[in-house]
Structures are given as C-alpha cells and as structure tokens.
C-alpha cells in the first residue's frame, strides 16, 4: 500500500546539480545494493541532463538579501531567565544603510524611509532587532523575515477602487438600510395590533 502510494507520488524529473546526481547514484559500481525503491529508480535522471527545468512557481521567490551588505551583531537578550539569559548572546540585530542598499529598488527604498523613520538612526542605518527566540539563528531568521515584510509592504500599491464599484457599494448599503427599516415598521404594526386600547 505504501509502495503503491510512493510510486504514484514520484514523477521523473531532471537531475541538475552534481549534488543531486551524486545522492541518487552511488559512486562504487556493482558492489552497492540497489532495491526496486532506490532513489535512482524512483527519480530516474533525465537523459538531457543540462536542460533547465520549467519551474512552476505558485508563489513569487523570497527576496534575496545579500548577507555581506548587512551588519549583524549579537547581544544579550532582556527579560527573565536566570543565568542562561545573562550568559547567552541570543539577541540578533541587523543594520544596513538604507539609502545605499542596491538590492532594494529605489522607489521602495524611499517608501521604506518614510514608513519606518522610527527605526532609522542619524547615520541613515535601518536597524532591525529580534529577541523572541532562544536561538541566535532563529532570531537572525526572524530579523530577515521582518526586513522582507517591510520591503513587501513598501512595494504594494494602494487598491484603486473604480467608480462603478464605489457606486455599487453605496447602493448596497442604502438598500440594506431601507430593508431594515421596512422590516422594523412591519414588526411595529404587529406589536401595535396586539395592544388593547380602551378609550
């Protein structure tokens, strides 16, 4: 059952890099054991090994941040934690000069300078910190994620609502209110009819 499911999951894909080719075929000839479920049978390498794969990417690729352009420093985090928090450098801080960051488009850079003025110091460096995790590596990843979010927010354009759509929305609201008041009046007459008014 598992074997059947496994085979249905595998599709032949071209093995590009030397790395993946090495992982699927072992170096020694003849002495290595190969079962029917070995990797080179599950994912046979394509005959035209150098053909570039047409990648279907459902999501756009994550922003490529050059690590050598950033200044990364680690320090001790704040908060409770006893001896461990006093000794371990887990707070990660990234600084980079925003105006000279070529890896961000110019317009986006200016937008970011406006949006995050509170995070930019006098020298023009954007500072991002993270001390949410116990691990330096994870805090660094969180900082990079924050930078990517900032860039994404700066890139997005405000939604332009067409005139027809705004008109439609206003009409909808008015219609809802009219209906609500009509129902209210009906309910009111029902309640009135139940009153016994003796003159």
């Amino acid at each position: 059952m598992a074997a059947h499911m496994l085979r249905s999951l595998c599709r032949p894909r071209p093995g590009l890099a030397l790395l993946c080719a090495r992982f699927s075929q072992r170096a020694a000839a003849g002495t290595e054991y190969r079962s029917s479920h070995s990797l080179d049978k599950l994912y046979p390498p394509r005959q035209d090994g150098t053909a570039t794969r047409t990648t279907e990417e459902p999501q756009p690729p994550a922003l490529d941040i050059p690590m050598d352009r950033l200044t990364v420093s680690y320090s001790r985090s704040s908060g409770p934690g006893g001896q461990n928090v006093n000794k371990v450098n887990s707070k990660a801080e990234i600084r980079f000069h925003l105006a000279s960051a070529d890896w961000i488009p110019e317009a986006v850079r200016q937008k970011m300078a406006l949006m995050h003025t509170n995070k930019i110091n006098r020298a023009g460096e954007l500072i991002v910190t993270s001390e949410e995790s116990r691990y330096q590596m994870r805090n660094l990843a969180i900082c990079l994620e924050k930078i990517r979010t900032m860039v994404t927010e700066a890139i997005e354009k405000p939604k332009v609502v067409s005139k027809e759509t705004t008109q439609k929305l206003i009409e909808r609201v008015e219609k809802m209110n009219r209906e609500r008041l009509r129902q209210k009046k009906i309910h009111s007459t029902i309640k009135q009819s139940r009153k016994a008014d003796f003159d």
Partner: protein, 323 residues
C-alpha cells in the same frame, strides 16, 4: 615469629594510631546497604560554586531496627492509639468520605492510544557536539543510529513504541561539526545548523523490527538469521519522508538541493558547497531505502564466529530481497 598472638596484638596497638570511630568498620554482612538517592544534586543559581562540590554518596548503611532502646522501643514508631497504631487505616486515596480526587476529576482521553503513538528519543545538537568532542562519535564516518547507540549517546527502546531518534535544536548556536547524520525526525532549525557547518542531514524510517536490529546488531547477528529488508513507511508517514524540506530519504534529490538553498536564504548563511569538499564521498553516502546497514544488503547472513558473510544464491530469494 615475633611471639604469640597477644604480644603481636599489643605491639600493633602500640604502633598503630588511636582506635576511634574513624578507624572502625562493622563486620561485612552485618549491616545492610541501602540506596539513598539516584540523582546528583543540581547547582542552585545564586548559591555559589561550593555546592557543586558536595558529594552525595549513593549508598548508606541502614541500621537494623530493634525493639529495644530509645528509637526502636516503646511504641515502635507506630504513634499513639487509633487506626495508625492498630494498623486499620483506610485504603489509599480515601479522603474520609469526601469524594476523593481520583473520582471527582472527570475522565479525559489524555493517554488514550498512548501505546500506539510513535515516540522519538530526542538528540540535541549540544549532545551531539559533546559526543564528537569527546571522540565517542566519529564525524569522518556517516553517523547512524548504530553509531549513536554504540557510543551510548542515546538509548532507544524499540519495545516501548520508540521509532528512532529526533534532532532537537538545543545547542544550535554552538554546533560546529561537519557530519553526515541520519535520524528519524529533524526540526528545521536543527537541519539549518547542520547544513550551515557543511554537513548533511537525512531523515529515514525504520520499522520496529529493523530498528531493533539497527540498535543491537551483534545480538541480531548471533541469531544466525538473514538480514531482513527495511519496510517502507506507513501511509501517514509517506508524506513526511517524501518532503524535501524534512530531508526525507524518499524525496527527490534535486528538490532537496533546492530546499538546502532556500533554508540558507531563510536563515541568512552562505551554504557551503559540499561538492568541493574532500569528504564529499562520505557526506553523500546514503543507504538504500530497503537497507539497514551500510555495506550489508538484505538477505545476507553475517557469521561473526567464522568472520564470514553468507549471501543467497537462489533466484527467488534474490528477487525477493531486491524488491
């Protein structure tokens, strides 16, 4: 002979130091040794270093309780009258008539099906670094569960629903060893920490029988049975082991290479190129999905006494073991 026993004893008394409680010992067998505590005392933060030098001995001589004298006599430790002295106390858990705790709390399936749940023994990166530094685990060879068990780094109990070992992040910041390690589960940060140092992680599945053989190979070889083929993972685990993000052993190698790059971008390190490494052959060594040991195929019988390996020759057997 320097004289009879009495003279010799008197000579000893004159020459040896004074007899005191520090020099005396009870006759062997007269006092029972009782295990006092099993854990070492932890250093409390703020109490200073001197506490850590306290030696707590594990065994203590237990004094025999005799019904004579101040602490063994009169009421003999039973108290005064009542159910206590008369030995008529109610059952454990009885609270004098009040609905006891174990009946008042409603049932909830916390432990339901616990014996069917898969467990993975954690292995922190800190522990792995410790084992490598002490030389108990060799980083120049692929690290397997057999290597870890031989080094007594982890203890896996296949009979207690253990399905192997999982890599845990503790010590990710101090980890600095280039290893080819194969575990059963690994968290993302642990994978990142190992790949950052130029190593390779693979997650693979061992069914309980294969796991027992993997952990105790010598015991298995002494049975004289052929090495069985490792079973493929059950349905709910196939998705895990075919996912390149978990570095599954059944995942597409090209996708695994892409996933390595993605992880490097996410965690902000430069992925070292292991193809240029001198240990590349060792780092890329991997087991076949049906193989339990490196270098030994299913169907072989290992004879440790005669130092021989017996391989099957029958066609049907060969067909079965290579399926």
């Amino acid at each position: 002979m320097s004289g009879n026993g009495a003279n010799r004893a008197l000579e000893l008394l004159r020459s040896l130091p004074r007899v005191s409680l520090a020099n005396l010992r009870p006759n062997p067998g007269s006092k029972k040794r009782v295990r006092r505590c099993t854990k070492k005392k932890n250093v409390m933060p703020g109490t200073g270093l001197w506490n850590s030098y306290l030696n707590v001995s594990l065994f203590v001589l237990k004094e025999r309780r005799r019904g004579r004298g101040r602490y063994g006599g009169r009421k003999c430790g039973r108290g005064h009258k009542g159910e206590r002295q008369r030995g008529n106390r109610p059952r454990l858990g009885f609270e004098g008539g009040q609905t006891p705790f174990y009946l008042a709390i409603p049932k909830y399936g916390f432990n339901e099906g616990h014996s069917l749940r898969r467990q993975y023994q954690p292995l922190s990166l800190q522990r792995l670094q410790y084992l490598i530094d002490l030389g108990r685990v060799d980083p120049t060879q692929p690290i397997d569960l057999t290597q870890l068990t031989n080094a007594r780094g982890v203890t896996v109990q296949p009979l207690k629903r253990d399905y192997g070992v999982q890599l845990v992040e503790e010590g990710a910041d101090i980890f600095a060893a280039k290893v080819n390690i194969e575990v059963q589960r690994a968290s993302e940060l642990a994978i990142a920490a190992i790949e950052k140092n130029g190593g390779v992680v693979t997650t693979s599945f061992y069914d309980p029988r294969s796991l027992e053989i993997l952990c105790k190979p010598v015991v298995f070889f002494l049975r004289g049975k052929p090495i069985p083929k490792r079973m493929l993972p059950p349905e709910d685990l196939v998705r895990y082991y075919t996912d390149p993000r978990n570095r599954g052993y059944l995942a597409d190698p090209s996708k695994v290479a892409e996933a390595r790059l993605e992880l490097a971008k996410k965690y902000g390190y430069v992925l070292p190129d292991i193809t240029k490494d001198e240990l590349f052959k060792m780092l890329s060594a991997r087991k076949d999905p049906r193989q339990i040991f490196f270098g030994l195929a299913p169907g072989w019988i290992v004879n440790l006494a005669d130092k021989k390996i017996l391989k099957p020759t029958d066609e049907s057997l060969l067909k079965y073991y290579s399926s």
